[in-house]
């Protein structure tokens, strides 16, 4: 459809070494048009309006591809299971985007950020959680 968008999508696929399929193209367009933080099911519902025969599995597979290629990002990293910690000191997390390992970092080491108690719209702040996301030393060798 939109030539520019199409060109950049093909370029993206080439760069990633993946095929340009109709499903992929529509998925990409739909995700660009969706605001917010959709779940796979929500994306599926949307894409289905244009490709009624698409499968949820294809949506999942392509979401993963797009996350790996950096087009999409997960709102919060999925560790497979819930992880809890004692609600103690002011620390934050360093998370490896590949192996999903979590280590702590003191707020002092991060450098302070200014904190609000309330946000416009009446949101009442309980706490700030900072994730430093990247690759741990081990995962850099791959």
């Amino acid at each position: 459809m939109a030539a520019a968008a199409d060109i950049s999508f093909r370029a993206l696929c080439e760069q990633q070494g993946i095929a340009v399929t109709h499903q992929r193209e529509v998925l990409y367009e739909v995700m660009q048009s969706m605001h917010g933080h959709p779940s796979p099911e929500e994306i599926y519902a949307e894409v289905r309006q244009r490709i009624p025969t698409i499968s949820l599995a294809t949506v999942y597979k392509n979401i993963h591809l797009f996350v790996e290629s950096g087009v999409l990002r997960e709102v919060s990293l999925h560790h497979g299971t819930v992880r809890v910690e004692m609600a103690s000191s002011d620390h934050h997390h360093v998370v490896c985007s590949r192996c999903k390992s979590i280590t702590d970092i003191d707020e002092a080491e991060l450098g302070l950020l200014p904190k609000h108690d309330r946000l416009p719209g009446g949101f009442l702040v309980e706490r700030y959680a900072v994730d430093v996301i990247g690759l741990c030393a081990k995962c850099q060798q791959a």
Copy 2:
């Protein structure tokens, strides 16, 4: 066992209006002794060494209770399903801990925080993700 710890645990239960059970007490002690960011299964494995008959369901139920009472916190808020977004502008998230709604906030609105490209230990930073966690306007009326 440790009198002081026991007293504070009983106080905690009273404050939360919940019963002081053996399972709860051991869970609490185990969680205090575990460093890191354990999953329910990991906590279960640990508690089982002291109460071999405890059930995973009980572990889950009590983890929820402890999270609600603020003793524990989830390392990253669990939205039930994966949520993705376009990897575009520098923005962060405002997340309601009750209804789990997510809204965006510009980095400029948060106030800049100093960013590192590398962390001691060789961690390579890709990005910073800040979650402002609290209660949205709607959830404050409950």
